[in-house]
């Protein structure tokens, strides 16, 4: 089954494939927005506090502006596991294109090249580049060899709903078995009517509709999973 998706697959030396989900322009815009808001609020408060120190405070404030303007993303990306505060907020992470964590060199390059991505204003070049590349990379990402991915929040092991194990009447293909298991794992988050609607699709297999159908599908999931 070949699905249309933005997943980027990397192959590791162990011969397995890992999937990364590059983040699109909207999520990245909000991360950028949060970063900017944090930085400018911080600079403002620091500025107010530092005015009490006179010229000394002004000098320190200049240094803060320099760090915030140029190096804030670099430090956070390298020391914070690829995440600035905005990216943390939106569950994004910067990685190298081969899935490894980002280092000082690539981070510096991708963040300095914001100047080019910002041309001719409002990140136009960056946006066009993100929309044209397969992995949503702006110019800085392309040159540094990095990409911004969605970080799936740690998936908890779902508990299969209790049900009497029930052997399916037909031999199911692996994909079909996997779909039934996926339904059972997600059923806790579905409303009763939606569960019934989905289970009704399997009416010919379960031979019942409504709540009875759901119970039968959950029973099959339990059976496939290995319950006795």
């Amino acid at each position: 089954m070949q699905s249309v998706d933005t997943v980027r697959t990397i192959e590791t030396p162990e011969g397995i494939e890992l999937h990364l989900r590059p983040a699109g322009p909207v999520a990245r815009f909000w991360a950028f927005f949060v970063d900017q808001a944090v930085v400018w609020m911080g600079l403002m408060f620091a500025g107010i506090a530092l005015t009490f120190l006179g010229p000394l405070g002004l000098g320190l404030w200049f240094i803060l502006v320099f760090l915030a303007q140029w190096l804030y993303p670099v430090f956070f990306e390298v020391l914070g596991g690829g995440r600035t505060l905005g990216k943390r907020w939106l569950n994004l992470r910067v990685l190298r294109t081969d899935g490894r964590p980002i280092g000082w060199g690539p981070s510096l390059i991708r963040n300095l090249l914001r100047i080019v991505d910002g041309l001719p204003g409002a990140y136009t070049v960056g946006l066009v580049s993100i929309l044209l590349t397969r992995d949503f990379q702006r110019i800085g990402d392309i040159v540094a060899g990095t990409l911004v991915v969605h970080e799936e929040a740690g998936v908890q092991a779902p508990v299969l709903p209790a049900a009497e194990p029930l052997a399916p009447a037909l031999a199911l293909t692996l994909e079909e078995q996997s779909a039934i298991l996926a339904f059972a794992e997600r059923s806790a988050g579905l409303t009763a009517s939606r569960s019934e609607e989905l289970a009704d699709v399997l009416g010919p297999l379960t031979g019942s509709r409504g709540a009875g159908g759901v119970k039968a599908v959950l029973g099959m999931a339990r059976y496939l999973w290995g319950g006795r």
Binding site: P55, F62, F66, L108, L112, L113, V155, A182
Partner: protein
């Protein structure tokens, strides 16, 4: 094998690996690689047998986190940065001497030309500077100008902060705009050179030799060579884009950016050093200006010999 048994049999291993990632002492360092390979095997098996998507996803995320930890680079740290500045940077400057020479020419050529022209024809200063700007520079270096508001150490810190913000910012800008086929450095270097040469000639014409040269000489070597190196870094990137050689254009650009950013790192270190001297030494009025010029010349000699001589042992 049913999924339940598969999970039951292998869960201890996954928990150990997860614990190791969370810095708990579940596995010894020498056990991790084989445990990781077994996890990779489990992931392939789970995918092949179409176990439930949640299980496959959990295994793949564990594998991804381990992949990042195992293949990630060790942090380079401050000692490595100092080693780079001490040995590798001069080596790279020598290896790329043509590029550094072009960058120097773009910067110092217009500087010297502007200086000679404005010395010969003082009125031509207004080609570069508006009357207000020219007057502002004269006032800045006029010994009779009282230092407004602040004196001593606090003023030094203020100026130090300003030099960091302004000068290193210019380095970054010059470097990054080099990506546009090198146009950035090709514009910024000559422009800053013309500006510097004009100001220098104008202040010399006004007879402010002692204050002006006394001020700039101390940090001039670091600051000007910093500008040259940041320009060279930007040109490296632009040149890689225009002339990729035997690589693909993208691969050449990535390599060019990597090499260029190393030159930029050197530029930033030099500019930072310049800001230290500019903030805390150059404005010092207790030392006679001729001594300060002597110190400045000494720094030029030291910096040049560092470029020429340092890091040869490892070559």
């Amino acid at each position: 094998m049913r999924q339940q048994r598969f999970e039951q049999e292998n869960r201890p291993l996954w928990e150990d690996l997860r614990g190791w990632l969370d810095e708990r002492a579940t596995l010894g360092a020498e056990e991790v690689p084989s445990a990781y390979r077994r996890l990779c095997h489990h992931l392939s098996v789970a995918r092949e047998r179409h176990y439930s998507p949640a299980l496959v996803e959990r295994l793949q995320q564990l594998a991804l986190r381990l992949h990042q930890r195992i293949y990630g680079e060790r942090g380079e740290g401050v000692p490595a940065a100092l080693r780079f500045l001490w040995g590798e940077l001069p080596r790279q400057v020598r290896a790329e001497w043509r590029l550094v020479a072009v960058s120097s020419l773009l910067f110092f050529g217009p500087w010297i030309a502007a200086f000679l022209v404005v010395r010969a024809q003082p009125n031509l200063v207004h080609l570069m500077l508006s009357p207000e700007e020219a007057a502002k520079y004269v006032q800045m270096y006029d010994p009779k100008t009282p230092v407004a508001g602040a004196t001593g150490a606090t003023r030094d810190v203020m100026m130090f902060g300003f030099y960091i913000l302004n000068n290193i910012g210019i380095d970054f800008q010059t470097f990054a705009s080099g990506l546009l086929a090198g146009i950035g450095p090709l514009f910024f270097l000559p422009f800053n050179g013309l500006h510097g040469g004009t100001v220098m000639a104008h202040l010399t014409n006004q007879g402010l030799t002692a204050t002006f040269y006394g001020f700039i000489s101390g940090h001039s070597s670091f600051e000007l060579m910093g500008a040259v190196l940041s320009g060279a870094g930007g040109l490296r990137m632009g040149f890689a884009l225009m002339h990729p050689g035997r690589r693909s254009r993208l691969a050449a650009l990535r390599e060019g950016a990597r090499q260029g950013s190393r030159l930029l790192f050197g530029a930033v270190a030099l500019t930072f050093l310049a800001a230290c001297f500019e903030g805390f030494w150059s404005a010092n009025t207790l030392v006679p200006w001729k001594v300060k010029v002597g110190v400045g010349v000494l720094f030029w000699i030291l910096l040049s010999s560092w470029f020429v001589l340092a890091g040869r042992r490892g070559e």
